[in-house]
Amino acid sequence: MKVSYEWLCDLAGVHDITPQQAADVLTMAGWNVEETVLLDLSQLLVGRVISQQPHPSSRKPLWVHQVDLGDHTRQIIAGVDNARPGTLVPVALPEMTVPDGTLVRDGKIAGVEARGMLCSEAELLISDDHHRILVLDQGTPGQHLDEVVPSDAVFEVEVTPNRPDCLGHLGLARELAAALGRSLGRDFMPPFTGGVEPPGTDLINVEIEAPELCRRYIGAPITGVKVGPSPLWLRRRLFAAGVRPISNVVDITNYVALEYGQPLHAFDLAKIGGRRIVVRRARAGEMLLCLDGEIRSLTPDMLVIADAERPVALAGIIGGADSAVTGQTMDLLLEAANFEGVNIRSTSRTLRLRTESSSRFEKAISPETALAGARRAAGLLAELAEGNVHVGWADAYPRPQEPIRVRFRPEQVDAVLGAHVPLQEMEAILKRLEFQVRVQDDGEWDLLSPVFRQDVSIPEDVAEEVGRIYGYEKVPPTLPGSRRTSWHPATPSQERRLDPLRYALTGPGFTEVVTPALTSGALLDRLGVGDRAMQVINPVADDQDALRTTLLPSLLRVAAHNRSYGRQIVSVFEIARVYLRRPEQPDSQPDEPLRLGVVRAGLNGPEEGRAGFLDMKGALDRALDALAPVEVSYERATATLFHPGRCARVLVCGRPVGFLGELHPSVVDAFDLEGRAVGLELELEPVLAVDLPRRGLPLARLPAVNRDLGVVVAEAVEAAALLRTIQGAGGELLESATAFDEYRGSQVPEGCKSVAFTMTFRSPERTLTDAEVDGRLEAIKGALAQEHQATFRT
């Protein structure tokens, strides 16, 4: 909300603080001043125009003025001619920067000396009128301008939704005064100024048909108004608060809205059919031509202000064009009402129409504010538009607001704050905020909220009121906790338990990434992984309308991004959740398994693809081992997104946890990636659930005997099968065996391959002889020949 410092300080009766001080005080009392724009007029002077002549040589129309500044006269050139001789005008001297940022130069314009500037309202930031020089109605030559037109500052203040009473300057002025240790010295409820007959109730009849949506409706007829421009002080304040002045009547309703936070509306009384106001739900099919020129279709969930026949306003949101005040308006109906916030909010959302009025009503303003606002507006309409304020206003208020009381003990406030606030000070703070305090015999305090406050209902609320005015900087910092007799034992977080795996992956060159979970549902469908995707019904963008069901597309996107910057090989991993709708309960929370995804992209051709596959397998073995000494095995498999011939199921301690392999060329293509990519994705929770201790086993002290063996078998026989046979036949003396090479070519028959194994034999008790080892090797060869029709290369 835009707030005028000058207006605020005037209401608060505070005249001794700078804009910066005011902003700081407000901020620390809970009214965050996000921005301050200074409108400093103190350096400008009042001048009287002595003469005005057209510029002798300029092609553009310019006028040369002699201006009396009290102690001297200067020549000033202007582009408009309304500063006639005799008028008082604001004068900026050379080298000054005026509020709109214009630097005044000393020099010549088209050959004629110009020693200053006559300012328009726009240049002084007091309106957007830059077509004429501001003509002052008071002042003496040489006087500082800010003695005639006050300097100002515009604050952008954040008003929290619990405090609708501060949606106007008056509420913030009370807060400013209270925080400075002063009282506002101004009654919330202005006096009633009506004195003209007949009573307003004779001129207008008000009826609330939907009391659940309208708590109060005041209709005050003001007759005989003279519509015209508003005085400078009012226009200036409106403009500072961000509202364009229009005419005195409209300006006054806006002014009061900005002062009290109470939206008001003025109808042309003559246009209200049947002299009757009905507050009711719209009927199906009703339409309203609104003040902004739009015709809106209304539905029965919307509240309207209607006359005897048709809607004349959309309650609390926008007025109708047909009943609006015009230059010809003589008699007004001033509306000050209170509408139910949730309904206003929902109508405003449905119509996509948020106004100054709707945004205030949404926040549950007190219905008492309606009367205060109406009285204030009536007073100003009499003063500035010569309106007649009638006695006896129509005021439909079926259920008056109950006063809100809180009982609390002052120690409760101290207990919340962690600081002792002296009782007198606590009481003074609450009184400055216009609470009524009664100290009961039992030491409890009985607190009655002012009528404009509905947010203080429990002792914690009272503590907040006291604390923010007392000043939280006075609360000493402490750390919680005393001697504890119970506790919850610490367990390392899941994330932290996964750190060894992260580090193990960075070793072979994988960099961790963090990618968004919202992705394109269409993409997931196209990739064949969209079945269990959770679809967002109100996405911000089409490519962020579903939660991912797999990490691999996100990693491929990262690879593509980095390839576009010239990286050849991109190696990345992510540990994150995927989100899987439960098919049997689609409206319940999905499964959110934690997964590891790894991708290496940019590999060149099938051979590098195979090498990348083996590298990734090695990296995964090492990374899983970093978590626990688990047994990892692989078996041939097919899976969505993976190459049909190059994909393995990963098993941890015999339990399938995911897949590793080359990614399907069509998937790689879908991300505009060239070359081959290998990847893996697996569930981490089952791996973390494995509870295997790491044990220090005795180290072998006796020498080992190593033997290599080239096993020639048919293409289809897999290394894992050969290894099982070797281990079976090797017996206890075979300590380890692993395949280390694969060969195809002239040395082996067509359709066959040679798989080279290296084997280590060892006995814990004795040094093995060659004969013993040869015996085992023969047994292994025999088993391989029998089970796999293997032959052997020497």
């Binding site: 402490t478 070793g507 072979p508 961790e512 979970a517 919202l518 991004h561 990345v572 959110e592």
Partner: protein, 342 residues
């Protein structure tokens, strides 16, 4: 056939002339090797008479000792000469660039999150995590955010169904309730990191998908002072002992009283400069005393226990820590960026 003394004489001359260790080894084989004249001589001792044997043995031993001593001396001299020459013979260009290992990096957000957790864990907090797809109850209702409440506008939400009861959590606070339910009995000191989602337009300081972390303490006699002290401890641990914090009143439905908390600017020390926008303070996050209704909804008796909660965006902390000015960089995953900060 030469006498042992003659052999020794020849050997010593050869040793004296040896230029390197290879040559010395050849000399050793020639004069003391299994096939050498001297060693061959020793094999014939058995055929000598007893009195001849003693004299021959003495001569043999003297020759052999002389040769092996000379060999040892010479080997030592040659080795010393070789090692004293290393600077000339084996110099490499030590300014040549090192060969980097292939290793990757951790993401900066992981690192920053771990730093945050480490500080809080040292204070006795532990990490709780929970679902990102939440129900209306945990994300809003239980936190004092009733339907139709204007405060819900502060947190524009992604929904999964028209009834708006299944949604992406807008903050980590649903885990306040879940933590109370899981741990049941205070003292409860937990820290809750995780992904959150808001239907915001994306710009350098806003993301629709971001990470928050919040700390929750529920115990007897917890005060605003404790909240201030805890945040101050955290800020000084993460940024240095000279940092200060301040709390400014604001409104959140789930805390009462509620605050924003600011960190004193590290560039100007709080005097005001360009990097803090002139007021000396940097906005970090929100905090407050847990609202009694929230405690009740988590099954905690607000008459016995009170608590505080405070939280912030992890990206915000990472930005402050690493001078990053655009939040989107954290999710773009440009390796050049990650390698700078990883």
């Amino acid at each position: 056939m030469s006498s042992p003394a003659e052999i020794a004489e020849r050997a010593l001359a050869a040793i004296a002339a040896a230029r390197d260790e290879d040559e010395l080894e050849r000399i050793r084989v020639e004069f003391l090797g299994a096939k050498s004249e001297l060693i061959g001589m020793s094999r014939s001792f058995a055929s000598l008479r007893k009195e001849e044997r003693a004299a021959a043995g003495q001569a043999f031993n003297a020759a052999k000792t002389a040769i092996s001593d000379a060999l040892t001396d010479c080997a030592g001299a040659l080795a010393r000469a070789r090692l004293s020459d290393l600077a000339a013979t084996e110099a490499i260009d030590v300014t040549f660039p090192g060969r980097p290992p292939a290793s990757g990096r951790l993401h900066v957000l992981t690192r920053v999150q771990r730093e945050i957790e480490t500080v809080m864990e040292a204070m006795g907090y532990h990490v709780e995590i929970g679902p990102e797809v939440e129900t209306d109850w945990y994300n809003f209702e239980a936190l004092n955010l009733a339907r139709g409440h204007a405060s819900r506008d502060m947190q524009d939400t992604f929904f999964f169904n028209e009834s708006e009861d299944l949604l992406l959590r807008t903050h980590t606070s649903p885990m306040q309730i879940r933590s109370m339910e899981r741990l049941k009995e205070p003292p409860i000191y937990v820290i809750i990191p995780g992904r959150c989602y808001r239907r915001d337009a994306t710009d350098p300081s806003h993301l629709a998908q971001f990470m928050q972390v919040e700390a929750l303490a529920i115990d007897e006699e917890i005060t605003v002072g404790d909240l201030k002290g805890t945040i101050l401890y955290f800020a000084q641990s993460l940024w240095g002992a000279d940092r200060r914090i301040r709390i400014r009143p604001t409104f959140f439905p789930y805390t009462e009283p509620s605050f924003e908390f600011d960190l004193s600017c590290g560039v100007c020390g709080g005097r005001g400069c360009r990097s803090c926008g002139g007021d000396g303070w940097l906005e970090v996050g929100g905090c407050g005393m847990v609202h009694p209704n929230v405690l009740r909804n988590g099954g905690i008796d607000p008459e016995r226990f009170t608590g505080f909660a405070w939280g912030f965006g992890i990206e915000r902390i990472a930005m402050l820590r690493h001078d990053v000015d655009d939040m989107r960089l954290f999710y773009e995953n440009d390796l050049r960026f990650l390698e700078q900060l990883g």
